[in-house]
Amino acid sequence: MRVTAADKRLLNDFQRDFPLEPRPFVRIAETLGVAEDEVLTRFADLRDRGMVSRVGAVIQPNTIGTSTLAAMAVPPERLDEVATVVNAEAAVNHNYEREHEINLWFVVTAADAIGLQEVLKRIERRTGLPVLDLPLEEAFHIDLGFQLT
């Protein structure tokens, strides 16, 4: 994995306040002193290499649709199987194994609360394991992006 100085600026300097004008990549290109094509190519490359998830919006939780953090205590020998069942749900957008007896953690997002509960119930039914539903009550952090060091 190699990140050039130019890549680092693309990754760091445009995490917020992305230009809201017809040709935003021209504005970024001007800031960096390169051509628009170069910026588009590099972003596409960073995305293809998995370093950029997307150039887009971080939306305030529960403003469009509703989401929750869910967790399960999965016997280690069943973890791959259960993770596959969880991943099969299109409503799941993050799914991690963590070091704890409650070892599978995932975020579920749906259009409404009923849809969300359906997903959790379906996972319980398919795996035979209980799912903890841990909805957000209060957010303290303002997401300003993540600065690479």
Partner: protein
């Protein structure tokens, strides 16, 4: 601000990101049947109204070498958690910080911090700073480093339900 139906349509249309083309807003506009100007002005209002917390590059920590990813949880009395949250959110190494519903007896914790680092030892020192400098040491707690990532992508709001397995 409360997003209207068209705002929601627009947010869903960009859930996977803006297309990486010269005129991304025009491309999105064509998809949702709006004008380029309207897409830009609606997005601006959604940013100003706080519905879009930020618009820009969303990086993937793991691929950039930030592989020590800790979710740290504490059991903070309900009357203290808002004040604790404001204090902790000010630390630059805290990526996310929030309060969630407890589920006793399985899960007693209500206060969460995410810390993404390159090195587990550094992250553990940062957690110690939260405990001893920000005053969290007196609360019951747990540190859950991530092991494997099974999935990571933008939210999908109106996905069709997964098909039942026969």
């Amino acid at each position: 601000m409360i997003p209207d139906r068209i705002d929601k349509l627009l947010l869903r249309a960009i859930a996977d990101g803006l297309p990486l083309v010269s005129r991304p807003y025009a491309a999105v506009a064509a998809r949702v049947g709006l004008g380029e100007d309207e897409v830009i002005s609606r997005l601006r209002r959604l940013v100003e109204g706080g519905i879009i917390k930020r618009l820009g590059v969303i990086v993937r920590h793991h691929e950039l070498g930030y592989r020590a990813n800790a979710m740290v949880v504490w059991d903070v009395p309900d009357g203290e958690v808002t004040e604790v949250g404001r204090r902790v959110a000010a630390y630059p190494f805290v990526t996310l910080c929030y309060r969630r519903t407890r589920r006793p007896p399985d899960w007693r914790f209500n206060f969460y911090c995410m810390i993404h680092g390159k090195d587990r030892a550094v992250v553990l020192r940062q957690i110690a700073v939260l405990n001893w400098q920000a005053g969290l040491a007196r609360y019951p707690q747990a540190v859950l480093f991530s092991r494997r990532r099974f999935k990571q992508r933008g939210a999908c709001f109106d996905a069709a339900p997964a098909r039942e397995v026969a």
